[in-house]
């Protein structure tokens, strides 16, 4: 064990980095068996597969010498999924019978969204533990409405210009209401810092839009030339056009995807670095945005080129990078942290209704 007297971590004034101890070769076995069993059980095993996957990743995320643990059970997740599945089937049937009903269900889902988000965050927090102490989430449904619904609305209506404000609301809600046992987290990401990491991706989007515009103009020019060119056959014209459309979609997909990755990494750095546990222990995230985007993109390329077989390697690679750039500085003594929720019993079994699907990628 790295920490001999783990109950009382030393008073350290420097950041301790986390580390990811998982290996691609080891995860490959877990992954391929997950996929295989999911297929041959017609998807039923996917709930248990999720548990094994999460236990592997949580259990290999080590900070201050100890790993996290994921506690959700396959049965819990399975029941949750069945409920969600039946609900959506029901909606689909009704929507197929009466298309206008879609408006009603959309409004209903939107109205229920804050509640779903709040329950999802709580579920994910409560099934996570560190040093035998569970996390908890105490955010309200109203808070989720402001953080998620209002935030995305403002961000969308302002064409992303107010996105940093929305990010601030969101992560103040997510981390400000997170508890490690009886200890609260607190975060105060500064708007200025968030705009600092917003600038580059915003510039990327603008430049991308300009390029798309130029390509589009060139395309329409080319089309006019082709249309006026009697030598070209119908098929060739259509082919050119369809290729052009696919190209445009591809460029938009890549530019926005890239900008989103860069923004996400920047926000993570800002939010983590302005978060404190128990009002004194500081968190830190110092990922390089370019490196993070590079890893994420090459991961996708490698995964696709190998028909998914390199996915375990890609997942471990990303987890290793993100974990290695996360750290905590302990001031003084953490002392004994006590779970504020019972780890077993009614409190946990009542969580069936929770939406395990909603998480924020942290």
């Amino acid at each position: 064990m790295a920490v001999a007297d783990a109950g009382r971590p030393e008073t350290v004034a420097q950041f301790e980095r986390a580390s990811f101890t998982g290996r691609a070769s080891e995860y490959f076995g877990i992954w391929i068996v997950n996929v295989l069993l999911t297929i041959i059980t017609f998807g039923i095993y996917s709930a248990w597969a999720k548990v094994r996957r999460n236990r592997y990743f949580y259990g290999n995320t080590v900070i201050l010498g100890r790993a996290f643990e994921y506690h959700a059970t396959g049965k819990q997740i399975f029941i949750g999924r069945v409920i969600v599945f039946l609900f959506f089937i029901g909606i689909q049937i009704i929507a197929a019978i009466h298309p206008l009903f879609v408006i009603v269900t959309t409004v209903l889902i939107l109205a229920a969204l804050p509640w779903l988000v709040q329950r999802g965050l709580r579920f994910n927090a409560r099934v996570t533990s560190y040093r035998n102490v569970r996390f908890d989430f105490v955010g309200s449904v109203k808070g989720a409405f402001v953080a998620v619904v209002l935030g995305s609305f403002v961000s969308f209506l302002s064409l992303g210009i107010l996105a940093p404000l929305a990010s601030r609301w969101l992560y103040r809600y997510v981390f400000g209401n997170l508890r490690y046992g009886d200890r609260p987290f607190f975060t105060e990401p500064r708007v200025g810092a968030l705009y600092g990491v917003w600038f580059v991706p915003a510039l990327m989007v603008v430049i991308g839009a300009v390029i798309c515009g130029i390509v589009g103009l060139a395309m329409s020019g080319a089309i006019m030339a082709i249309v006026n060119n009697a030598d070209m056959t119908e098929e060739q014209m259509i082919l050119t056009f369809v290729l052009g459309i696919y190209l445009a979609f591809f460029v938009v997909f890549v530019v926005y995807g890239l900008a989103a990755l860069v923004y996400r990494a920047g926000v993570r750095n800002v939010v983590f670095s302005s978060t404190k546990l128990d009002d004194k222990h500081e968190l830190l995230s110092d990922m390089s945005r370019a490196r993070y985007a590079w890893i994420a993109i090459t991961n996708i390329i490698v995964t696709v080129l190998t028909l998914g077989l390199m996915r375990p390697w890609a997942a471990v690679r990303l987890a290793r990078y993100m974990t290695a750039h996360t750290a905590i500085r302990i001031h003084g003594d953490i002392g004994e942290v006590l779970s504020s929720i019972e780890s077993t019993g009614a409190a946990m079994s009542a969580e069936y209704m929770d939406m395990e699907g909603i998480d924020f990628g942290f």
């Binding site: 064990m1 783990a6 109950g7 080891e26 490959f28 076995g29 877990i30 391929i32 068996v33 997950n34 295989l36 069993l37 297929i39 996917s46 597969a49 999720k50 094994r52 996957r53 236990r55 592997y56 949580y58 259990g59 290999n60 100890r66 790993a67 643990e69 689909q92 197929a96 019978i97 009466h98 298309p99 206008l100 040093r131 035998n132 102490v133 329409s220 089309i223 006019m224 119908e234 098929e235 259509i238 056009f241 997909f253 995807g257 991961n299 996708i300 995964t303 696709v304 028909l307 998914g308 996915r311 890609a314 953490i334 004994e336 942290v337 006590l338 779970s339 019972e342 780890s343 077993t344």
Partner: protein, 375 residues
């Protein structure tokens, strides 16, 4: 004393719900599993093994052994715990974990996954769609049809402004056509509507309701066979239950992607979803040509011009051909083949063969007899 017990594994012990821990060993003493502190050799917790939980092994992550009092013993010595559990149960534990271990067997698994994935997409998904179509009570398409028509009427369509004579003429022709179709004339109803911004179009709803827009009738300029050819195409869609099939297929693909989403990552999931959309397009093209062939058959059976639907495409070209780029937006790359296929099929039914590269009559027209993408 406890110190004499046989040691199972070394690790750390936590009181219930507490982060405080002490270095300890897990020992076996007198039929009990005991957590013994390293420092003073004190007994922190003890229980009968049946009342304890040993977390299943995943890779080499720390193992949790929970005592009935809620206290926890955590160790990284997975092998030692496995050995103990195996000895106590008299059989090997962790079946899933043993399958997951790095071993040449995993290559077989990978091959199996590839094979199964291809098989599911190629055979299981279509079979499930067929099954779902068979199991769908006939009342569902009826509801879908009337609901969709009501919605369309409320949002886009308005009552037809066609002269009564035109309507009677087309309606009579439609009767003879529908009489030859599966289910007979009673299974199909023709509705005349003003298409509004939909323009010249005809589409079929799953319950056998066909909608024909005034604009399409105007476009035909009195060529009744042309209109009937398009309606024959729509009857083909209803007979083959294309909209229901498409619905189930899309749902099936979305479901498959959702199931493996966590195992492929969100980036790849997005790509799969887009790819699924492209595949759905190719599937709908197959459905279109199937309906084209049915139009030829029905028109032939009703004693009408079987190739009339091909003429419809020609007419579209006459009207929209000059606009070049504009109408190309709505066309499919395979429209020329589609027309050729109609003429070929008609010739085949007549027992005549035509040379493959007949006159180039390709048509960049707005696609005519298409049903709404999401009924």
């Amino acid at each position: 004393m406890v110190s004499e017990g046989s040691v199972i594994a070394r690790g750390e012990w936590h009181p219930a719900n507490s982060s405080r821990s002490v270095a300890a060993t897990l020992q076996l003493a007198g039929g009990l599993v005991v957590a013994v502190g390293d420092a003073a050799g004190e007994r922190h917790a003890a229980a009968e093994p049946e009342k304890m939980t040993f977390s299943p092994r995943v890779g080499s992550i720390p193992r949790r052994i929970v005592f009935p009092d809620g206290s926890l013993f955590e160790t990284r010595d997975n092998d030692a715990i496995d050995a103990y559990v195996e000895k106590r149960q008299g059989r090997r534990s962790g079946f899933v974990h043993r399958m997951e271990e790095f071993h040449p067997r995993l290559i077989v698994f990978a091959g199996l996954v590839m094979l199964l994935a291809a098989g599911i997409y190629r055979y299981a998904l279509p079979a499930l769609v067929e099954l779902a179509v068979l199991l769908t009570p006939p009342v569902v398409p009826d509801w879908m049809g009337s609901g969709t028509l009501a919605t369309l009427d409320r949002t886009t369509l308005s009552p037809s402004k066609l002269p009564e004579a035109d309507r009677r003429r087309i309606g009579d022709g439609f009767e003879t056509l529908a009489a030859k179709a599966e289910g007979g004339a009673g299974a199909y109803t023709l509705n005349f509507r003003d298409g509004g911004y939909i323009g010249p179009n005809a589409f079929a709803l799953p319950d056998g309701s066909l909608i024909l827009t005034d604009q399409l009738v105007e476009l035909a300029k009195g060529d009744t066979d042309m209109i009937l050819g398009v309606l024959g195409h729509e009857i083909g869609h209803v007979e083959r239950k294309h909209s229901l099939r498409q619905l189930y297929r899309a749902a099936g693909i979305a479901g498959l992607i959702m199931l493996i989403a966590g195992d492929v990552g969100s980036g790849v999931e997005d790509i799969l979803t887009q790819g699924g959309g492209l595949l759905a397009l190719s599937y709908s093209r197959a459905a279109e040509s199937e309906a084209d062939m049915r139009s030829v058959e029905l028109m032939r059976a009703a004693g009408r011009d079987p190739a009339a639907i091909a003429r419809f495409f020609e007419r579209l070209e006459e009207i929209y051909g000059d606009h070049g780029g504009n109408s190309m937006l709505s066309t499919h790359p395979d429209t020329p083949e589609r027309r050729r296929a109609i003429l070929d099929y008609d010739a085949k039914l007549r027992g005549v063969t035509v040379e493959k590269n007949g006159p180039d009559t390709s048509t960049p027209g707005a696609e005519g007899g298409r049903q709404p993408a999401k009924p």
